[in-house]
Symmetry: C2
Subunit: 293 residues, 2 copies
């Protein structure tokens, strides 16, 4: 599993590099600052979960994970843009991200704002220019991604999260927020893999898998915010408690959180079996539950 | 001319309304705040120049301006998102826009940031869902728009503009910044009209027209920032001088600015003639030079 994950991650990292290289040609010094800030946040890494999911669903669909490589990069650009904007002082005001100063700490607020805007935009440009895919596939992918990002998806979840202070959320509202804020993009990643692989009949099963995985992933994040080693996590722990935010463990208790994430992981594993199985995906799913950062 | 402009603007305004209505269904109260902020800034109006250009080029291409109505709305969403983010305290810190408090003054910085993000995203969603157009047209339109918005276009121009303090710019750099910050989206609007109308052979001529119009438009903006009536302009005058920004009149003098904008307007009118003419476009072009706000 780890080997395949590293192979995927290295494909993604090198494709992100070459996509960003396009910006280094014919560019004024000023614009290079923006491209540099985009690259700084993109390169900081993270687990590349979304592109890995897109690529593995493409492989399961058509045997070639590379069909979803550029779409995976687009997903990572969207994810990174949301982190850059989330870290800004008017949002969560986080100084550290992925083990390094957050984008606005390194480049200033104005450049970070625009680098986020440019990453959001570049995601759509990359898909529109992906000539491996038919025009119809590209349109479907852009529709899928933009819906996942918008007011009904990730951004809607961020808006709901803004009101998540002073433990204002009950369980239902918390689950809705999670399903939008992190769930929508994970669902979209799996769906994009099916579209890239020409297997739209797999989308419903992919959604069921993604719903279970997405929520398990978020609950584990919540648990790690309480229990993890800050150095491994790459950002300060306890930030949820400090901001007095509702989290799964805060609302349901730590024991229920551990049980729920295990139960969801099992449900996700069952979906993989029902789809005909993927050893790598099963390994990845179990690993995401057991991770320590 | 005014009549046609009003007809176009009213088509655009009502389509923007119905595109935003989609967000009012099934939405939690929290998300509605975001949709409300998007609508607040979209509805504030402005001259709708970009969608009007897209629609008129579609009409010139295929006889039906409605072919570019949704693309026009997408252009207005991009323009509005850039204004919302430009007004934020970390950018130009403007409290007024289009005659009303700017988005972050009305809804707070976090909601304004996310409303801008959501408008940028919704623009691509709207084009991807425009079933009047073929998949190929939609892909070409999204490619065209995303290139105009990115680091080589509008956002690149905003980045260069960040360094425009203390009269640091010479004429060449100023013209480059204008060509990207406002020029790219105006060029894109005309090109999108040609694509919607199925006349890609018109794109080069459309670009030549748009280059002349875009720069003339920007120079007139600069002149109005010095000379206009604040009440008509809808935002405070003298903000460029206050921020000690280079502008066309500041670098080349007011007389040269007036001459250049007239010369560019004539060049744009010549391009319209060469394209076979459009009475409305000629009237609009002359009106944009002579406007007082």
């Amino acid at each position: 599993m780890k080997e395949t994950l590293e192979k995927y991650a290295s494909m993604i990292n090198s494709r992100l590099d070459s996509l960003m290289d396009a910006y280094d040609k014919d560019n004024a010094k000023a614009q290079l600052v923006c491209a540099e800030a985009m690259r700084y946040s993109l390169k900081a890494g993270g687990k590349r979960i979304r592109p890995v999911l897109a690529m593995e669903f493409a492989r399961m669909s058509c045997g070639d994970e590379k069909m979803a490589l550029d779409c995976g990069c687009a997903l990572e650009m969207i994810h990174t843009f949301s982190l850059i904007h989330d870290d800004l002082p008017c949002m969560d005001d986080d100084a550290m991200r992925r083990g390094q100063p957050s984008c606005h700490k390194a480049y200033g607020e104005a450049v970070a704002l625009l680098a986020g805007d440019a990453l959001e935009n570049y995601a759509f440009e990359v898909i529109s220019a992906d000539e491996k895919l038919s025009f119809e596939q590209r349109v479907k992918l852009i529709k899928c991604l933009s819906r996942a990002v918008g007011v009904m998806g990730m951004i809607g979840g961020q808006i709901i999260d803004l009101q998540n202070v002073g433990k204002a959320f009950d369980g239902e509202k918390l689950l809705k927020m999670y399903s939008m804020k992190t769930g929508a993009l994970i669902r979209c990643a799996c769906e994009m893999g099916c579209i890239c692989g020409g297997r739209e009949d797999m989308i419903s099963a992919a959604h069921r898998y993604a719903n279970a995985l997405g929520l398990a992933f978020q609950i584990v994040d919540d648990i790690l915010d309480i229990t993890a080693d800050e150095k491994l996590l790459g950002k300060p722990c306890g930030s949820d408690a400090e901001l007095d935010k509702s989290t799964y463990p805060a609302v349901f208790g730590m024991k229920a959180a551990r049980e729920k994430s295990a139960e969801l992981t099992n449900a996700a594993l069952d979906e993989i079996k029902a789809m005909g199985g993927s050893e790598f995906l099963a390994g990845l799913t179990a690993y995401l539950l057991d991770r320590t950062f």
